[in-house]
């Protein structure tokens, strides 16, 4: 579904990504882990089009995304839930969700999408008239996720949904992500610092370091890999 080949991105002369290649199959759950500055966030931005690629190719359903703007990529069914939540703080919860279904293909199914999202996150129904900025961190993360789902995407890019959240909320978020995947057959690309939880969810995983893929494999293989164990699992 998504094929990335030789992707390179630089910021002000700093190489954030150097020749990254990876594949995500239809309906697959892929997790990307790695230390700070490895380029994980940049990779998601390059897919959604908010960071310009310097070299390489990003193809979605066989179509080269290179020339497309972020809004055009979103219209193809790619939803990006960015790091740090980025909800629209001075809009209400409901307005945030409605903006999620701005995409033409999603407008028709808005009511149904709304039902589904509010079913996944009942707390958002309770708070639908509240300003998004007044929600707690966990609720904002749910809203960001819900806003992404309102676009009825085929590919969901999740950037560190657990950041800054308490342990119980983190469990809840991961459970919901798992449920979305099982119920909606969504393709998901997840970037995470919580390595164990994130790898346990995935089919395939990649380890990114200083802008390169240093390790890739199926879930069981990665969790059992001695290097992963040593570097990330504290074993």
């Amino acid at each position: 579904m998504l094929t990335i080949a030789g992707l390179a991105v630089s910021y002000q002369g700093l190489h954030a990504l150097a020749e990254v290649s990876l594949e995500v199959g239809d309906g697959e759950f892929v997790t990307i882990v790695g230390p700070n500055g490895a380029g994980k966030t940049t990779l998601l931005k390059a897919i959604s089009g908010t960071a310009p690629a310097e070299a390489g190719r990003v193809a979605y359903r066989g179509r080269d995304l290179g020339a497309l703007r972020p809004s055009e990529r979103a219209a193809l069914g790619i939803a990006h839930v960015p790091e740090g939540r980025r909800v629209f703080p001075s809009l209400t919860v409901m307005e945030n969700l409605e903006l999620g279904s701005y995409r033409r293909a999603a407008r028709a199914g808005r009511a149904q999408a709304l039902d589904e999202v509010l079913g996944l996150f009942p707390i958002l129904r309770e708070r639908h008239r509240q300003l998004a900025g007044s929600l707690s961190g966990g609720e904002q993360q749910m809203l960001a996720l819900g806003r992404g789902l309102m676009a009825r995407p085929d590919l969901l890019l999740l950037d560190e949904p657990s950041q800054g959240l308490g342990p119980r909320i983190v469990e809840q978020i991961f459970e919901t992500v798992d449920r979305i995947r099982r119920e909606r057959r969504l393709t998901i690309l997840l970037v995470e610092q919580r390595v164990v939880e994130a790898l346990e969810l995935c089919d395939h995983g990649y380890v990114l370091e200083t802008g390169r893929v240093v390790l890739a494999g199926r879930r069981e293989a990665l969790l059992a890999d001695a290097r992963v164990q040593r570097a990330y699992l504290g074993a």
């Binding site: 630089s10 910021y11 002000q12 002369g13 700093l14 190489h15 954030a16 882990v33 790695g34 230390p35 700070n36 500055g37 490895a38 790091e83 740090g84 007044s134 929600l135 707690s136 961190g137 966990g138 609720e139 560190e160 950041q163 800054g164 959240l165 308490g166 342990p167 119980r168 909320i169 983190v170 469990e171 610092q193 390595v195 200083t210 802008g211 570097a231 990330y232 504290g234």
Partner: protein
């Protein structure tokens, strides 16, 4: 920033070029253009002090220009006082006006400040009309032309205007390279972070406003004598004055002393040439051409020509390579790593409500010296609100905070920082256009005045967190770990007794967490007390001596980490049963 010597040399070079042009130019009209270039450059520089450096956009700066003109001319008319002395009086009046205007107006932030400044020139126009000063002409003083600034020789006006420009350049340069300059830039980038680092933003903004009023008044006084000869409210308090000032700064670039100079050197001759060439044949067309030229420049260099050229040079210099290795954290020795019995901070019955939400209810606890106290609880429990009360961003509705035995409830963040309370933020709040070193220097200025001393304090703070090799980088190129380390270094540079760390591990990977833990332990080893909000429980359990748990604004539990994590109420509200199972499995 260019080295110190080079900056002064450049100013000397500008003055030399100005003198050379004055001597070279022959025609009277060309002298007039030259005088105008110097005066508008100086006026742009005056505006740049408050709006460029401090970021407080003033749309009413012509109020000081007008005060300069009116006060000087009225003193000539009414008292026969020479404008050379009258200008001094005008400067004093303008600075006083800046204080009176600033007092109420600096309570407004951002665009609201700018909009409010629009009102003052309007008020002055009405007052001048009402006083009957619709038209005040400078009386001719043929017997003492020099004493009354009524030169026959146009070169004299060139040199006078150049003198005003040179003085304003020197003033700008002194501000740029001083403690005030760093503080103003910090306020422009992030006023809250600057306050938390001990910058009294109100006083700094006021100082900048007063310093920018003075040259504007001088320019107004000289402009009247060199160009207008008759003062009217429209001519000196009108919109044309501020729009010319803004054009000069926007075209050249603001926040640097070279921007207004470049802008004036380009736009003033363009506008004059248009007036005399096409304007003669098609009246009004000059405004259209001028506007088009302005739009072209804005499209090509939206941040101003100076910055455009500078960035182009920077980019050609090439970037740096990615930093590969994470710097080894400094070694710690266990000697001082034990809490003492002294109570450093007492929190007593603190409550804080927002509209419809009780964020904190009746919170009490002590922090002992050299302790690492962890604050945990679900999102929205009031942890950050608690920090905002402790460092002065918020005033509690009820309750008291005592630091080192003294009541500090309700003090400003900058005052609390000076007393020794430092903090970092959940999302790092950096000064984006300052280098890493300059960011940390802003913290150091709380204790030291001279720039070079602050720089060395900042370097040693950077070394303490292992970030010495990034001193000259800009924050935009930094990883999350480096940003958090930089913020901690900035906080340490204020020489705090107590640091409040708001989720310092958020967004860090496993090895980043290890570095940060080691650095935080190092902070405590040096005798600094730490209060830390964190969700990364494994890390916090390794770090904290004691935990306090908040839930829905209340204190749910407090005690040793082992005991708190077994508390059924804490598991129910925050940790979750699965977390406990995971911990047991390790």
């Amino acid at each position: 920033m260019a080295s110190r010597g080079r900056g002064w040399l450049a100013i000397v070079a500008v003055v030399a070029v100005g003198v050379a042009l004055t001597l070279l130019v022959q025609e009277r009209y060309h002298h007039r253009v030259l005088t105008l270039v110097f005066l508008w450059a100086a006026m742009g520089l005056a505006w740049n002090i408050i709006s460029g450096y401090a970021g407080q956009i003033s749309f009413g700066h012509q109020v000081f220009f007008g005060i300069g003109a009116y006060v000087t001319v009225l003193l000539v008319v009414k008292a026969g006082l020479t404008p050379w002395i009258g200008m001094g009086v005008a400067v004093a009046v303008a600075v006083l006006a800046a204080v009176l205007i600033g007092m109420p107006t600096f309570r407004l932030a951002g665009i609201y400040f700018g909009l409010a400044t629009l009102a003052y020139p309007l008020i002055f126009r009405i007052v001048m009309d009402w006083l009957g000063y619709q038209e005040v002409a400078i009386p001719m003083k043929r017997e003492q032309p020099g004493w009354f600034m009524q030169f026959n020789e146009p070169r004299s006006f060139d040199l006078l205007a150049l003198g005003v420009l040179a003085a304003t350049l020197v003033l700008s340069r002194v501000i740029e390279t001083s403690r005030l300059g760093y503080r103003l830039r910090a306020i422009k980038e992030n006023e809250q972070a600057a306050e938390a680092m001990g910058v009294d933003s109100f006083r700094c903004k006021m100082a900048a406003y007063m310093l920018s009023a003075a040259p504007a008044a001088v320019v107004g006084a000289v402009y009247i004598h060199a160009i207008l000869f008759i003062v009217t409210p429209e001519a000196v308090f009108g919109l044309l004055v501020i729009s010319q000032t803004l054009v000069v700064c926007l075209v050249g670039g603001s926040g640097t002393l070279w921007g207004p100079l470049v802008g004036a050197a380009l736009m003033v001759p363009v506008s004059e040439i248009l007036d005399t060439t096409v304007g003669d044949r098609l009246p009004g067309i000059q405004g259209v051409v001028y506007g088009a030229a302005l739009m072209l420049i804005m499209l090509g260099a939206p941040e101003g020509l100076y910055w455009r050229v500078r960035h182009a040079f920077r980019a050609r210099g090439g970037g740096e390579a990615t930093r590969l290795a994470i710097v080894a954290p400094p070694a710690e020795d266990g000697a001082a790593a034990v809490p003492t019995e002294t109570v450093l901070l007492e929190v007593r019955g603190v409550s804080k409500a927002f509209i419809g939400l009780q964020a904190l209810s009746d919170i009490s606890f002590d922090v002992r010296e050299r302790e690492i106290l962890g604050v945990i609880g679900p999102n929205g429990a009031g942890k950050t609100t608690l920090f905002n009360v402790l460092n002065g961003f918020l005033v509690p509705d009820r309750g008291e905070v005592r630091f080192l035995g003294q009541a500090v409830t309700g003090l400003r963040p900058s005052a609390l920082c000076r007393r020794g309370i430092g903090r970092t933020f959940q999302v790092p709040r950096t000064f984006q256009h300052l280098t890493v070193l300059e960011n940390v220097m802003v913290g150091a200025f709380v204790r030291v005045g001279p720039v070079h001393v602050a720089a060395s304090t900042a370097r040693s703070a950077l070394a303490k967190v292992g970030l010495a090799d990034r001193a000259d980088a800009l924050p935009t190129g930094l990883t999350t770990l480096d940003l958090r380390l930089m913020e901690l270094a900035r906080c340490l540079a204020t020489a705090p007794r107590l640091v409040l760390l708001d989720e310092p591990l958020a967004g860090l990977s496993g090895d980043g967490v290890a570095v940060m833990i080691s650095v935080i332990r190092g902070v405590r080893t040096r005798g600094v007390t730490v209060v830390i909000i964190e969700h990364t429980m494994q890390a916090l359990l390794r770090l904290a001596d004691r935990l306090i748990v908040l839930d829905q604004g209340r204190r749910l539990a407090a005690g040793a980490p082992g005991q708190v994590t077994q508390d059924p109420a804490v598991i129910e509200a925050y940790l979750g049963k699965r977390w406990l199972a995971r911990m047991a499995a390790r």
